[in-house]
Protein backbone atom coordinates (compact mmCIF):
# COMPACT_ATOMS: atom_id res chain seq x y z
CA UNK A 1 0.00 0.00 0.00
CA UNK A 2 2.87 2.30 0.81
CA UNK A 3 4.27 1.57 -2.61
CA UNK A 4 1.00 2.35 -4.36
CA UNK A 5 0.59 5.55 -2.40
CA UNK A 6 4.07 6.73 -3.28
CA UNK A 7 3.49 5.98 -6.96
CA UNK A 8 0.27 7.93 -6.68
CA UNK A 9 1.94 11.01 -5.19
CA UNK A 10 4.91 10.78 -7.53
CA UNK A 11 2.88 10.50 -10.74
CA UNK A 12 0.38 13.15 -9.73
CA UNK A 13 3.17 15.60 -8.95
CA UNK A 14 4.80 14.73 -12.27
CA UNK A 15 1.64 15.67 -14.15
CA UNK A 16 1.60 18.97 -12.29
CA UNK A 17 5.22 19.49 -13.25
CA UNK A 18 4.34 18.83 -16.93
CA UNK A 19 1.62 21.48 -16.80
CA UNK A 20 4.02 23.92 -15.12
CA UNK A 21 6.71 23.35 -17.76
CA UNK A 22 4.24 23.77 -20.62
CA UNK A 23 2.81 27.01 -19.24
CA UNK A 24 6.19 28.46 -18.26
CA UNK A 25 7.29 28.30 -21.93
CA UNK A 26 4.93 31.20 -22.61
CA UNK A 27 6.60 33.31 -19.94
CA UNK A 28 10.07 32.35 -21.18
CA UNK A 29 9.12 33.49 -24.67
CA UNK A 30 7.66 36.76 -23.44
CA UNK A 31 10.57 37.39 -21.08
CA UNK A 32 13.25 36.85 -23.70
CA UNK A 33 11.46 39.00 -26.24
CA UNK A 34 11.02 41.87 -23.81
CA UNK A 35 14.62 41.53 -22.61
CA UNK A 36 16.18 41.48 -26.08
CA UNK A 37 13.68 43.52 -28.06
CA UNK A 38 12.26 45.96 -25.54
CA UNK A 39 14.90 48.66 -25.88
CA UNK A 40 14.67 48.74 -29.67
CA UNK A 41 10.94 49.24 -29.85
CA UNK A 42 10.95 53.03 -30.15
CA UNK A 43 9.40 55.75 -32.25
CA UNK A 44 11.85 55.15 -35.10
CA UNK A 45 10.85 51.51 -35.27
CA UNK A 46 7.29 52.45 -36.19
CA UNK A 47 8.04 55.41 -38.46
CA UNK A 48 11.30 54.83 -40.34
CA UNK A 49 12.30 52.63 -43.26
CA UNK A 50 15.06 50.03 -42.81
CA UNK A 51 18.52 51.61 -43.11
CA UNK A 52 21.09 50.18 -45.52
CA UNK A 53 23.37 47.52 -44.01
CA UNK A 54 26.01 49.06 -41.76
CA UNK A 55 24.07 52.17 -40.79
CA UNK A 56 22.61 52.07 -37.34
CA UNK A 57 18.98 52.90 -36.61
CA UNK A 58 16.07 52.72 -38.99
CA UNK A 59 12.77 51.00 -38.43
CA UNK A 60 10.19 48.77 -39.98
CA UNK A 61 7.42 51.18 -40.91
CA UNK A 62 7.11 49.58 -44.34
CA UNK A 63 6.71 46.11 -42.86
CA UNK A 64 4.02 47.28 -40.43
CA UNK A 65 2.06 48.98 -43.20
CA UNK A 66 2.73 45.95 -45.41
CA UNK A 67 1.35 43.50 -42.87
CA UNK A 68 -1.74 45.68 -42.46
CA UNK A 69 -2.34 45.77 -46.21
CA UNK A 70 -1.90 42.01 -46.49
CA UNK A 71 -4.29 41.43 -43.60
CA UNK A 72 -6.84 43.80 -45.14
CA UNK A 73 -6.76 41.81 -48.39
CA UNK A 74 -6.94 38.54 -46.48
CA UNK A 75 -9.97 39.72 -44.51
CA UNK A 76 -11.69 41.05 -47.63
CA UNK A 77 -11.32 37.64 -49.24
CA UNK A 78 -11.56 35.28 -46.30
CA UNK A 79 -14.32 36.77 -44.15
CA UNK A 80 -17.14 37.04 -46.73
CA UNK A 81 -16.49 33.57 -48.12
CA UNK A 82 -16.25 32.01 -44.68
CA UNK A 83 -19.22 33.94 -43.32
CA UNK A 84 -21.66 33.25 -46.14
CA UNK A 85 -20.47 29.67 -46.47
CA UNK A 86 -21.06 29.26 -42.74
CA UNK A 87 -24.58 30.69 -43.10
CA UNK A 88 -25.27 28.06 -45.73
CA UNK A 89 -23.98 25.24 -43.54
CA UNK A 90 -25.99 26.32 -40.50
CA UNK A 91 -29.21 27.54 -42.09
CA UNK A 92 -29.80 26.13 -45.56
CA UNK A 93 -27.77 22.96 -45.74
CA UNK A 94 -29.21 19.58 -46.55
CA UNK A 95 -27.05 16.58 -45.77
CA UNK A 96 -24.62 15.80 -48.57
CA UNK A 97 -23.34 19.28 -49.48
CA UNK A 98 -22.62 20.46 -45.92
CA UNK A 99 -20.80 17.21 -45.21
CA UNK A 100 -18.54 17.69 -48.21
CA UNK A 101 -17.97 21.38 -47.41
CA UNK A 102 -17.18 20.71 -43.76
CA UNK A 103 -14.84 17.90 -44.69
CA UNK A 104 -12.91 19.95 -47.24
CA UNK A 105 -12.79 22.93 -44.86
CA UNK A 106 -11.15 20.74 -42.21
CA UNK A 107 -8.81 19.39 -44.86
CA UNK A 108 -7.91 22.91 -45.99
CA UNK A 109 -7.36 23.94 -42.39
CA UNK A 110 -4.81 21.17 -41.99
CA UNK A 111 -2.79 21.99 -45.11
CA UNK A 112 0.69 23.22 -44.08
CA UNK A 113 1.00 26.96 -44.61
CA UNK A 114 4.00 26.55 -46.91
CA UNK A 115 1.85 24.45 -49.27
CA UNK A 116 -0.76 27.22 -49.29
CA UNK A 117 2.14 29.45 -50.36
CA UNK A 118 2.90 27.17 -53.32
CA UNK A 119 -0.78 27.23 -54.24
CA UNK A 120 -0.91 31.04 -54.24
CA UNK A 121 2.35 31.12 -56.18
CA UNK A 122 1.01 28.80 -58.86
CA UNK A 123 -2.34 30.56 -59.10
CA UNK A 124 -1.45 34.25 -58.73
CA UNK A 125 2.30 34.74 -59.14
CA UNK A 126 3.08 32.40 -62.06
CA UNK A 127 0.60 33.88 -64.56
CA UNK A 128 1.96 37.44 -64.10
CA UNK A 129 5.60 36.47 -63.44
CA UNK A 130 6.15 38.65 -60.40
CA UNK A 131 5.50 38.62 -56.66
CA UNK A 132 2.66 40.82 -55.46
CA UNK A 133 0.68 42.03 -52.48
CA UNK A 134 -2.38 40.38 -53.98
CA UNK A 135 -0.74 36.97 -53.98
CA UNK A 136 0.19 37.33 -50.30
CA UNK A 137 -3.28 38.52 -49.35
CA UNK A 138 -4.82 35.66 -51.28
CA UNK A 139 -2.64 33.08 -49.50
CA UNK A 140 -3.55 34.48 -46.08
CA UNK A 141 -7.21 34.72 -47.09
CA UNK A 142 -7.30 31.05 -48.07
CA UNK A 143 -5.96 30.21 -44.62
CA UNK A 144 -8.68 32.31 -42.94
CA UNK A 145 -11.63 30.77 -44.78
CA UNK A 146 -11.91 27.41 -42.97
CA UNK A 147 -11.55 29.06 -39.55
CA UNK A 148 -14.21 31.70 -40.20
CA UNK A 149 -16.51 29.16 -41.88
CA UNK A 150 -16.52 26.62 -39.09
CA UNK A 151 -16.86 29.16 -36.29
CA UNK A 152 -19.65 31.05 -38.07
CA UNK A 153 -21.54 27.78 -38.39
CA UNK A 154 -20.98 27.02 -34.72
CA UNK A 155 -22.13 30.43 -33.48
CA UNK A 156 -25.21 30.40 -35.74
CA UNK A 157 -26.18 27.00 -34.39
CA UNK A 158 -25.83 28.35 -30.86
CA UNK A 159 -28.58 30.92 -31.48
CA UNK A 160 -31.70 29.62 -29.69
CA UNK A 161 -34.40 28.27 -32.05
CA UNK A 162 -37.00 30.38 -30.23
CA UNK A 163 -35.54 33.51 -31.83
CA UNK A 164 -35.91 32.04 -35.31
CA UNK A 165 -39.42 30.82 -34.60
CA UNK A 166 -40.40 34.21 -33.24
CA UNK A 167 -39.31 35.96 -36.41
CA UNK A 168 -40.95 33.35 -38.62
CA UNK A 169 -44.17 33.67 -36.65
CA UNK A 170 -44.19 37.38 -37.37
CA UNK A 171 -44.24 36.47 -41.05
CA UNK A 172 -40.62 37.15 -41.90
CA UNK A 173 -39.16 35.14 -44.75
CA UNK A 174 -36.29 32.78 -44.01
CA UNK A 175 -33.66 35.16 -45.36
CA UNK A 176 -35.20 38.05 -43.47
CA UNK A 177 -35.06 35.97 -40.30
CA UNK A 178 -31.42 35.13 -40.85
CA UNK A 179 -30.27 38.59 -41.80
CA UNK A 180 -32.10 40.62 -39.18
CA UNK A 181 -32.44 38.19 -36.27
CA UNK A 182 -30.03 35.26 -36.37
CA UNK A 183 -26.91 36.98 -37.74
CA UNK A 184 -27.10 39.97 -35.37
CA UNK A 185 -27.61 37.60 -32.46
CA UNK A 186 -24.48 35.68 -33.42
CA UNK A 187 -22.54 38.73 -34.58
CA UNK A 188 -20.29 39.08 -31.55
CA UNK A 189 -19.16 35.50 -31.77
CA UNK A 190 -18.55 35.71 -35.48
CA UNK A 191 -16.63 38.96 -35.15
CA UNK A 192 -14.36 37.56 -32.47
CA UNK A 193 -13.79 34.42 -34.54
CA UNK A 194 -12.79 36.56 -37.52
CA UNK A 195 -10.39 38.50 -35.29
CA UNK A 196 -8.85 35.27 -34.01
CA UNK A 197 -8.41 34.09 -37.59
CA UNK A 198 -6.72 37.41 -38.45
CA UNK A 199 -4.40 37.09 -35.46
CA UNK A 200 -3.52 33.59 -36.59
CA UNK A 201 -2.58 34.57 -40.15
CA UNK A 202 -0.88 37.79 -39.01
CA UNK A 203 2.02 35.71 -37.74
CA UNK A 204 2.27 33.49 -40.80
CA UNK A 205 5.59 33.71 -42.59
CA UNK A 206 5.78 30.67 -44.82
CA UNK A 207 2.94 31.51 -47.22
CA UNK A 208 4.36 35.02 -47.76
CA UNK A 209 7.93 34.02 -48.67
CA UNK A 210 7.20 33.54 -52.34
CA UNK A 211 3.96 35.45 -52.74
CA UNK A 212 4.36 38.86 -51.10
CA UNK A 213 8.11 38.20 -51.04
CA UNK A 214 9.48 41.24 -49.22
CA UNK A 215 10.62 44.76 -49.88
CA UNK A 216 13.21 47.04 -48.32
CA UNK A 217 11.19 50.12 -49.28
CA UNK A 218 7.59 51.26 -49.47
CA UNK A 219 5.64 49.07 -51.83
CA UNK A 220 4.59 51.13 -54.84
CA UNK A 221 1.29 49.34 -55.39
CA UNK A 222 -0.93 46.34 -54.73
CA UNK A 223 0.59 44.50 -57.65
CA UNK A 224 4.15 44.78 -56.31
CA UNK A 225 6.15 42.84 -53.70
CA UNK A 226 5.62 44.10 -50.17
CA UNK A 227 7.34 43.78 -46.81
CA UNK A 228 5.64 42.15 -43.83
CA UNK A 229 6.61 41.84 -40.17
CA UNK A 230 6.97 38.03 -40.02
CA UNK A 231 9.09 37.85 -43.17
CA UNK A 232 11.26 40.73 -41.89
CA UNK A 233 11.80 38.87 -38.62
CA UNK A 234 12.89 35.78 -40.54
CA UNK A 235 15.23 37.63 -42.91
CA UNK A 236 16.78 39.69 -40.13
CA UNK A 237 17.17 36.76 -37.74
CA UNK A 238 19.03 34.54 -40.22
CA UNK A 239 21.05 37.48 -41.56
CA UNK A 240 24.64 37.98 -40.44
CA UNK A 241 24.47 41.50 -38.94
CA UNK A 242 24.27 42.32 -35.25
CA UNK A 243 22.05 45.31 -35.99
CA UNK A 244 19.58 43.14 -37.91
CA UNK A 245 19.33 40.74 -34.99
CA UNK A 246 18.38 43.58 -32.65
CA UNK A 247 15.70 44.74 -35.07
CA UNK A 248 14.43 41.16 -35.43
CA UNK A 249 13.95 40.95 -31.65
CA UNK A 250 12.11 44.26 -31.64
CA UNK A 251 9.87 43.18 -34.51
CA UNK A 252 9.25 39.87 -32.77
CA UNK A 253 8.13 41.66 -29.64
CA UNK A 254 5.76 43.91 -31.60
CA UNK A 255 4.29 40.97 -33.55
CA UNK A 256 3.86 38.76 -30.51
CA UNK A 257 2.40 41.68 -28.55
CA UNK A 258 -0.23 42.30 -31.23
CA UNK A 259 -1.12 38.62 -31.58
CA UNK A 260 -1.34 37.99 -27.83
CA UNK A 261 -3.32 41.15 -27.06
CA UNK A 262 -5.84 40.30 -29.77
CA UNK A 263 -6.13 36.77 -28.43
CA UNK A 264 -6.52 37.85 -24.82
CA UNK A 265 -9.15 40.50 -25.57
CA UNK A 266 -11.15 38.25 -27.89
CA UNK A 267 -11.04 35.20 -25.66
CA UNK A 268 -12.02 37.20 -22.60
CA UNK A 269 -14.97 38.67 -24.48
CA UNK A 270 -15.98 35.23 -25.67
CA UNK A 271 -15.81 33.60 -22.28
CA UNK A 272 -17.72 36.40 -20.57
CA UNK A 273 -21.16 35.00 -21.28
CA UNK A 274 -22.24 34.06 -24.77
CA UNK A 275 -25.74 35.43 -24.28
CA UNK A 276 -26.25 36.90 -27.72
CA UNK A 277 -28.92 39.56 -27.28
CA UNK A 278 -27.07 41.85 -24.89
CA UNK A 279 -26.23 45.09 -26.67
Amino acid sequence: MFWRKSVNVLMLSLTGLCALVAVSVLFFILGYLVYHGGKDVNWDFFTKLPKPVGEAGGGMANAIVGSSKLLLLAALFGVPVGLLGGVYLAEFGGRAVPFVVRYTADLLNGVPSIVIGIFAYALVVMPVHHFSTFAGGFALGVMMIPIVLRSTEEFLRAVPPALREGAMALGASKWRTISSVVLPAASRGILTAALLALARVAGETAPLLFTAFGNRFWSPGWGQPIASLPVMIFTYAVGPYEDWHRQAWAAGLVLLGLVLITNIVVRTLLSRGTSPQRP
Partner: protein, 328 residues
Protein backbone atom coordinates in the same frame (compact mmCIF):
# COMPACT_ATOMS: atom_id res chain seq x y z
CA UNK B 1 -49.93 12.33 -57.50
CA UNK B 2 -52.02 15.24 -58.66
CA UNK B 3 -53.63 15.79 -55.30
CA UNK B 4 -50.28 15.66 -53.58
CA UNK B 5 -49.02 18.19 -56.05
CA UNK B 6 -51.78 20.66 -55.41
CA UNK B 7 -51.42 20.43 -51.64
CA UNK B 8 -47.72 21.14 -51.94
CA UNK B 9 -48.52 23.97 -54.31
CA UNK B 10 -50.86 25.49 -51.79
CA UNK B 11 -47.99 25.58 -49.34
CA UNK B 12 -45.96 27.46 -51.91
CA UNK B 13 -43.28 24.88 -52.28
CA UNK B 14 -43.88 23.29 -55.66
CA UNK B 15 -41.58 23.21 -58.63
CA UNK B 16 -42.29 24.56 -62.06
CA UNK B 17 -41.33 27.92 -63.59
CA UNK B 18 -44.01 30.10 -62.03
CA UNK B 19 -43.48 28.75 -58.53
CA UNK B 20 -39.75 29.08 -58.95
CA UNK B 21 -40.07 32.73 -59.89
CA UNK B 22 -42.29 33.35 -56.91
CA UNK B 23 -39.77 31.78 -54.57
CA UNK B 24 -36.93 33.67 -56.19
CA UNK B 25 -38.79 36.92 -55.61
CA UNK B 26 -39.33 36.13 -51.98
CA UNK B 27 -35.54 36.11 -51.65
CA UNK B 28 -35.13 32.83 -49.86
CA UNK B 29 -34.08 30.89 -52.90
CA UNK B 30 -31.64 33.60 -53.97
CA UNK B 31 -30.11 33.64 -50.50
CA UNK B 32 -29.81 29.87 -50.52
CA UNK B 33 -28.10 29.87 -53.90
CA UNK B 34 -25.71 32.69 -53.02
CA UNK B 35 -24.63 31.19 -49.72
CA UNK B 36 -24.32 27.79 -51.41
CA UNK B 37 -22.01 29.39 -53.95
CA UNK B 38 -19.74 30.72 -51.21
CA UNK B 39 -19.76 27.39 -49.43
CA UNK B 40 -18.70 25.74 -52.66
CA UNK B 41 -15.78 28.18 -52.97
CA UNK B 42 -14.14 26.20 -50.16
CA UNK B 43 -14.47 22.99 -52.15
CA UNK B 44 -13.33 24.71 -55.32
CA UNK B 45 -10.21 26.13 -53.63
CA UNK B 46 -9.26 22.73 -52.25
CA UNK B 47 -9.73 21.01 -55.60
CA UNK B 48 -7.71 23.78 -57.29
CA UNK B 49 -4.97 23.36 -54.69
CA UNK B 50 -4.56 19.66 -55.42
CA UNK B 51 -4.86 20.29 -59.14
CA UNK B 52 -2.15 22.98 -59.14
CA UNK B 53 0.25 20.85 -57.12
CA UNK B 54 -0.34 17.93 -59.47
CA UNK B 55 -0.01 19.86 -62.76
CA UNK B 56 2.99 21.92 -61.73
CA UNK B 57 4.93 18.93 -60.52
CA UNK B 58 4.35 17.01 -63.75
CA UNK B 59 7.83 17.56 -65.16
CA UNK B 60 9.59 16.22 -62.08
CA UNK B 61 7.15 13.34 -61.71
CA UNK B 62 7.76 12.19 -65.30
CA UNK B 63 11.49 12.69 -65.13
CA UNK B 64 12.22 10.90 -61.85
CA UNK B 65 9.19 8.67 -61.30
CA UNK B 66 9.11 6.84 -58.01
CA UNK B 67 12.90 6.98 -57.75
CA UNK B 68 12.35 10.54 -56.50
CA UNK B 69 11.57 9.08 -53.10
CA UNK B 70 14.80 7.14 -52.60
CA UNK B 71 17.31 9.30 -54.44
CA UNK B 72 19.76 10.98 -52.09
CA UNK B 73 21.20 13.64 -54.38
CA UNK B 74 19.76 17.13 -54.45
CA UNK B 75 21.85 19.02 -56.92
CA UNK B 76 20.23 21.90 -58.77
CA UNK B 77 23.38 22.50 -60.83
CA UNK B 78 23.20 19.06 -62.45
CA UNK B 79 19.41 18.91 -62.40
CA UNK B 80 19.50 15.92 -60.10
CA UNK B 81 16.70 15.93 -57.56
CA UNK B 82 15.87 13.34 -54.90
CA UNK B 83 13.57 13.73 -51.93
CA UNK B 84 15.10 11.23 -49.53
CA UNK B 85 17.16 13.63 -47.34
CA UNK B 86 14.14 15.90 -46.89
CA UNK B 87 11.73 13.08 -46.12
CA UNK B 88 14.29 11.72 -43.66
CA UNK B 89 14.75 15.09 -41.96
CA UNK B 90 11.00 15.71 -41.78
CA UNK B 91 10.25 12.29 -40.28
CA UNK B 92 13.15 12.30 -37.82
CA UNK B 93 12.45 15.80 -36.44
CA UNK B 94 8.72 15.09 -36.17
CA UNK B 95 9.37 11.79 -34.40
CA UNK B 96 11.74 13.53 -31.98
CA UNK B 97 9.16 16.22 -31.40
CA UNK B 98 6.47 13.66 -30.59
CA UNK B 99 8.83 11.68 -28.36
CA UNK B 100 9.25 14.71 -26.12
CA UNK B 101 5.84 16.32 -26.55
CA UNK B 102 3.58 13.31 -25.98
CA UNK B 103 4.56 12.49 -22.37
CA UNK B 104 4.76 16.17 -21.49
CA UNK B 105 1.44 17.03 -23.14
CA UNK B 106 -0.40 14.00 -21.81
CA UNK B 107 0.89 14.64 -18.29
CA UNK B 108 -0.21 18.25 -18.41
CA UNK B 109 -3.61 17.26 -19.85
CA UNK B 110 -4.14 14.74 -17.04
CA UNK B 111 -3.29 17.42 -14.50
CA UNK B 112 -5.67 19.92 -16.09
CA UNK B 113 -8.55 17.49 -16.55
CA UNK B 114 -8.31 15.32 -13.45
CA UNK B 115 -6.45 17.09 -10.70
CA UNK B 116 -6.51 20.85 -10.96
CA UNK B 117 -9.48 22.71 -9.50
CA UNK B 118 -11.78 23.98 -12.24
CA UNK B 119 -10.74 27.60 -11.91
CA UNK B 120 -7.00 26.89 -12.07
CA UNK B 121 -7.53 24.46 -14.93
CA UNK B 122 -9.44 27.05 -16.94
CA UNK B 123 -6.80 29.71 -16.36
CA UNK B 124 -3.94 27.41 -17.28
CA UNK B 125 -5.81 26.27 -20.38
CA UNK B 126 -6.21 29.92 -21.34
CA UNK B 127 -2.42 30.30 -21.17
CA UNK B 128 -1.94 27.10 -23.19
CA UNK B 129 -4.29 28.49 -25.86
CA UNK B 130 -2.18 31.65 -25.95
CA UNK B 131 0.91 29.52 -26.37
CA UNK B 132 -0.71 27.85 -29.37
CA UNK B 133 -1.22 31.31 -30.89
CA UNK B 134 2.48 32.26 -30.80
CA UNK B 135 3.65 32.58 -34.44
CA UNK B 136 6.12 30.01 -35.67
CA UNK B 137 8.70 32.62 -36.64
CA UNK B 138 8.90 33.70 -32.99
CA UNK B 139 9.79 30.15 -31.99
CA UNK B 140 12.43 30.25 -34.69
CA UNK B 141 13.81 33.53 -33.34
CA UNK B 142 14.17 32.11 -29.84
CA UNK B 143 15.49 28.88 -31.29
CA UNK B 144 18.28 30.60 -33.19
CA UNK B 145 19.41 32.99 -30.48
CA UNK B 146 18.63 31.17 -27.23
CA UNK B 147 18.33 27.43 -27.83
CA UNK B 148 21.12 26.94 -30.40
CA UNK B 149 23.90 28.48 -28.24
CA UNK B 150 22.58 26.55 -25.24
CA UNK B 151 22.64 23.29 -27.21
CA UNK B 152 26.16 23.96 -28.47
CA UNK B 153 27.75 24.82 -25.15
CA UNK B 154 25.72 22.82 -22.62
CA UNK B 155 23.24 20.22 -23.77
CA UNK B 156 25.03 18.54 -26.65
CA UNK B 157 28.37 18.16 -24.79
CA UNK B 158 26.48 16.72 -21.84
CA UNK B 159 24.62 14.24 -24.06
CA UNK B 160 27.89 13.28 -25.69
CA UNK B 161 29.50 12.57 -22.33
CA UNK B 162 26.65 10.37 -21.14
CA UNK B 163 25.20 8.82 -24.32
CA UNK B 164 28.08 9.35 -26.74
CA UNK B 165 28.61 5.61 -27.19
CA UNK B 166 25.42 5.36 -29.29
CA UNK B 167 25.60 6.51 -32.92
CA UNK B 168 22.74 8.94 -32.22
CA UNK B 169 24.80 11.36 -30.16
CA UNK B 170 28.11 11.60 -31.96
CA UNK B 171 29.92 14.16 -34.03
CA UNK B 172 30.68 17.81 -33.46
CA UNK B 173 28.19 19.91 -31.53
CA UNK B 174 27.08 22.62 -33.94
CA UNK B 175 24.09 23.67 -31.91
CA UNK B 176 21.89 23.55 -34.99
CA UNK B 177 20.69 20.21 -36.35
CA UNK B 178 18.03 17.53 -36.16
CA UNK B 179 17.92 17.36 -32.35
CA UNK B 180 17.45 21.11 -31.94
CA UNK B 181 14.72 21.13 -34.59
CA UNK B 182 12.99 18.25 -32.82
CA UNK B 183 13.12 20.14 -29.52
CA UNK B 184 11.62 23.29 -31.01
CA UNK B 185 8.90 21.21 -32.67
CA UNK B 186 8.13 19.53 -29.35
CA UNK B 187 7.57 22.89 -27.67
CA UNK B 188 5.38 24.02 -30.56
CA UNK B 189 3.06 21.00 -30.65
CA UNK B 190 2.63 20.51 -26.89
CA UNK B 191 -0.26 23.03 -26.70
CA UNK B 192 -2.25 21.09 -29.31
CA UNK B 193 -1.80 17.79 -27.53
CA UNK B 194 -2.76 19.37 -24.21
CA UNK B 195 -5.91 21.14 -25.34
CA UNK B 196 -7.37 18.26 -27.37
CA UNK B 197 -6.43 15.58 -24.82
CA UNK B 198 -7.89 17.67 -22.01
CA UNK B 199 -11.20 17.93 -23.89
CA UNK B 200 -11.22 14.20 -24.49
CA UNK B 201 -10.40 13.41 -20.85
CA UNK B 202 -13.11 15.77 -19.62
CA UNK B 203 -15.60 13.93 -21.83
CA UNK B 204 -14.96 10.64 -20.00
CA UNK B 205 -18.05 9.88 -17.90
CA UNK B 206 -17.61 10.29 -14.13
CA UNK B 207 -18.79 6.75 -13.42
CA UNK B 208 -15.60 5.47 -14.98
CA UNK B 209 -13.54 7.24 -12.30
CA UNK B 210 -15.91 6.56 -9.45
CA UNK B 211 -16.05 2.83 -10.18
CA UNK B 212 -12.27 2.56 -10.06
CA UNK B 213 -12.03 4.64 -6.87
CA UNK B 214 -14.77 2.56 -5.26
CA UNK B 215 -12.72 -0.57 -5.93
CA UNK B 216 -9.94 0.95 -3.85
CA UNK B 217 -7.76 2.38 -6.58
CA UNK B 218 -5.60 5.39 -5.78
CA UNK B 219 -6.28 8.59 -7.67
CA UNK B 220 -3.44 7.87 -10.07
CA UNK B 221 -4.52 4.27 -10.65
CA UNK B 222 -8.07 5.41 -11.40
CA UNK B 223 -6.76 7.96 -13.86
CA UNK B 224 -4.22 5.72 -15.54
CA UNK B 225 -6.17 2.47 -15.61
CA UNK B 226 -9.76 3.63 -16.00
CA UNK B 227 -9.89 7.14 -17.44
CA UNK B 228 -6.95 7.24 -19.86
CA UNK B 229 -7.75 3.88 -21.55
CA UNK B 230 -11.31 5.07 -22.02
CA UNK B 231 -10.07 8.21 -23.75
CA UNK B 232 -7.28 6.40 -25.61
CA UNK B 233 -8.68 6.80 -29.10
CA UNK B 234 -9.14 10.52 -28.70
CA UNK B 235 -5.70 10.97 -27.21
CA UNK B 236 -4.14 9.13 -30.13
CA UNK B 237 -6.18 11.44 -32.36
CA UNK B 238 -4.68 14.48 -30.65
CA UNK B 239 -1.20 13.01 -31.18
CA UNK B 240 -1.88 12.54 -34.88
CA UNK B 241 -3.14 16.10 -35.09
CA UNK B 242 0.09 17.29 -33.50
CA UNK B 243 2.11 15.07 -35.84
CA UNK B 244 0.46 16.65 -38.88
CA UNK B 245 1.38 20.08 -37.56
CA UNK B 246 4.95 19.02 -36.89
CA UNK B 247 5.38 17.61 -40.39
CA UNK B 248 4.25 20.85 -42.03
CA UNK B 249 5.93 23.25 -39.61
CA UNK B 250 8.15 25.53 -41.60
CA UNK B 251 9.76 28.62 -40.16
CA UNK B 252 11.00 27.46 -36.78
CA UNK B 253 12.49 24.31 -38.29
CA UNK B 254 14.09 26.21 -41.17
CA UNK B 255 15.85 28.47 -38.69
CA UNK B 256 17.44 25.72 -36.58
CA UNK B 257 17.75 22.51 -38.61
CA UNK B 258 20.97 23.47 -40.38
CA UNK B 259 19.64 23.31 -43.94
CA UNK B 260 21.98 20.67 -45.28
CA UNK B 261 20.53 17.92 -47.50
CA UNK B 262 22.42 14.99 -46.07
CA UNK B 263 21.36 11.97 -44.09
CA UNK B 264 23.29 11.68 -40.87
CA UNK B 265 22.68 8.99 -38.28
CA UNK B 266 23.70 11.39 -35.54
CA UNK B 267 21.00 13.67 -34.21
CA UNK B 268 23.66 16.38 -33.80
CA UNK B 269 24.15 16.50 -37.56
CA UNK B 270 22.52 19.21 -39.64
CA UNK B 271 19.61 18.11 -41.79
CA UNK B 272 16.83 19.50 -43.93
CA UNK B 273 13.06 19.10 -43.95
CA UNK B 274 10.60 19.30 -46.84
CA UNK B 275 9.03 22.50 -45.56
CA UNK B 276 12.44 24.06 -44.91
CA UNK B 277 13.79 23.41 -48.39
CA UNK B 278 10.61 24.91 -49.85
CA UNK B 279 11.03 28.02 -47.70
CA UNK B 280 14.68 28.44 -48.62
CA UNK B 281 14.88 27.52 -52.28
CA UNK B 282 11.47 28.12 -53.79
CA UNK B 283 11.78 31.83 -54.55
CA UNK B 284 15.21 31.42 -56.14
CA UNK B 285 14.60 28.21 -58.05
CA UNK B 286 15.94 28.64 -61.56
CA UNK B 287 14.74 26.33 -64.28
CA UNK B 288 11.46 24.53 -64.68
CA UNK B 289 12.69 21.15 -63.50
CA UNK B 290 14.03 22.63 -60.24
CA UNK B 291 10.72 24.39 -59.53
CA UNK B 292 8.76 21.31 -60.53
CA UNK B 293 10.80 19.13 -58.15
CA UNK B 294 10.13 21.58 -55.32
CA UNK B 295 6.42 21.55 -56.07
CA UNK B 296 6.50 17.75 -56.04
CA UNK B 297 7.99 18.00 -52.53
CA UNK B 298 5.04 20.23 -51.65
CA UNK B 299 2.70 17.57 -53.03
CA UNK B 300 4.40 14.90 -50.88
CA UNK B 301 4.03 17.11 -47.81
CA UNK B 302 0.38 17.77 -48.64
CA UNK B 303 -0.40 14.06 -48.99
CA UNK B 304 1.44 13.19 -45.76
CA UNK B 305 -0.46 15.75 -43.70
CA UNK B 306 -3.72 14.89 -45.50
CA UNK B 307 -3.56 11.24 -44.52
CA UNK B 308 -2.50 11.95 -40.94
CA UNK B 309 -5.09 14.68 -40.42
CA UNK B 310 -7.77 12.38 -41.79
CA UNK B 311 -6.79 9.66 -39.33
CA UNK B 312 -6.71 12.15 -36.46
CA UNK B 313 -10.20 13.46 -37.19
CA UNK B 314 -11.57 9.96 -37.55
CA UNK B 315 -10.13 8.95 -34.18
CA UNK B 316 -11.37 12.07 -32.38
CA UNK B 317 -14.78 11.64 -34.01
CA UNK B 318 -14.93 8.03 -32.86
CA UNK B 319 -14.25 8.95 -29.24
CA UNK B 320 -16.72 11.78 -29.06
CA UNK B 321 -19.47 9.75 -30.71
CA UNK B 322 -18.72 6.80 -28.46
CA UNK B 323 -18.82 9.09 -25.47
CA UNK B 324 -22.25 10.35 -26.42
CA UNK B 325 -23.45 6.83 -27.14
CA UNK B 326 -22.58 5.75 -23.63
CA UNK B 327 -24.35 8.75 -22.19
CA UNK B 328 -27.67 8.31 -23.97
Amino acid sequence: MATAHTTVDAAGLSWGPRALIRRLRSGDEVARLITLLFALVVVLLTVLLVDQLWINSAEARHRFGLAFFWTRQWDPVFNQFGALPFIYGTLVTSALGLLIAVPLGLGAAIFLAELAPRRLSDNLTFLIDLLAAVPSVIYGLLGIFILVPLMRTEIQPALKRTLGFTPLFQGPAYGIGLLTAGLVLAVMIVPFIISVSREVLLAVPGEQREAALALGATRWEATWKAVVPYARTGIIGSIFLALARALGETMAVTMVIGNNPRISASLFGPGYSIAAVLANEFSEATGNLYLSALIELGLVLFLLTFVINGLARLLIFLTTSRGSLVHT
